[in-house]
């Protein structure tokens, strides 16, 4: 039940993001989408991912996006209202994609797939949260991607800082 509420919220706010012409409203409807997706993560026994979603998306990416909008427009100004183009093409491509995806999801019988036979209820087991097993996994099986990710973040940090700083005019 809770899942359907979250799903409805996510779809409605994502649709609003696409439909609205106001950039700010788009940003805040993205907030609702992200929050409902985080809620769905919790329902899927992925509490750590849900909180990371909150922390990184809501606390980081969304703030960046809002800053990006606010630093490149003014209130009650044309620049905060964005027009849409390619409407016909866009809608037809998106609809085609959606129909194709839904059709293929409908055709697949997931219950017979051998790698989906694991018990879906027993994710947490005795633990109160997935954080313990995620931590162990990160330090054993996934230690290389983990380190590469940290390197990527460092590079992104330096790159973003370099791009955004005003270079002295020579």
């Amino acid at each position: 039940m809770l899942f359907y509420i979250f799903a409805l919220l996510a779809i409605l706010s994502a649709a609003y993001l696409v439909l609205t012409r106001n950039l700010l409203y788009a940003g805040f409807s993205l907030l609702v989408t992200l929050l409902s997706v985080a809620g769905i993560y919790v329902l899927l026994f992925a509490d750590f991912v849900a909180v990371v979603q909150l922390m990184v998306y809501v606390g980081g990416v969304l703030v960046l996006i809002l800053f990006g909008i606010m630093l490149s427009s003014r209130v009650h100004d044309k620049s905060v209202l964005s027009e849409s183009v390619n409407k016909g093409w866009g809608i037809s491509i998106a609809l085609l994609l959606l129909v194709g995806l839904v059709y293929s999801i409908g055709q697949t019988s997931f219950n017979t797939l051998p790698w989906l036979q694991g018990n879906a209820d027993d994710v947490l087991g005795l633990q109160k949260s997935t954080v313990q097993s995620i931590g162990i996994k990160l330090m054993t099986d996934f230690v290389l991607p983990f380190e590469v990710a940290s390197l990527l973040l460092l590079i992104a940090l330096m790159g973003a800082a370099y791009i955004a700083t005003d270079k002295p005019k020579v």
């Binding site: 696409v18 998306y57 980081g60 183009v85 839904v102 409908g106 694991g118 995620i134």
Partner: protein, 105 residues
């Protein structure tokens, strides 16, 4: 708590994905295009987490979605830095109005 059917989650993520594609295609403001990309990432993450439920011993889906989120954070930081730079240079953040100097009449 009753179990959420896998198909429903996949359909939700398909809807989010196509809305993201729609935003990327139809919108002209760089930041909104970025938001569309966020939607697509979220749809993918949703799939990963949904399948990870059937993989309780390994949690590979959740771990993969964590890495996706990290990449998204890096991408957003760099992309917004670029958007700000573009805005400073061209005085607009609309992708269709960005014209190189040689094309300006």
């Amino acid at each position: 708590m009753e179990q959420i059917p896998l198909e429903h989650i996949l359909i939700l993520s398909a809807v989010l994905f196509s809305l993201g594609i729609l935003a990327v295609i139809t919108k002209r403001h760089a930041v909104v295009v970025l938001m569309g990309i966020e939607l697509i990432f979220n749809a993918a993450n949703l799939n990963l987490v949904a399948f990870s439920r059937h993989d309780s011993s390994l949690l590979q889906g959740q771990l993969f979605s964590l890495f996706v989120i990290i990449v998204v954070a890096a991408e957003a930081a760099v992309a917004l830095a670029i958007v700000l730079r573009v805005y400073q240079h061209f005085k607009t953040a609309y992708l269709n109005q960005i014209v190189g100097d040689e094309h300006k009449s």
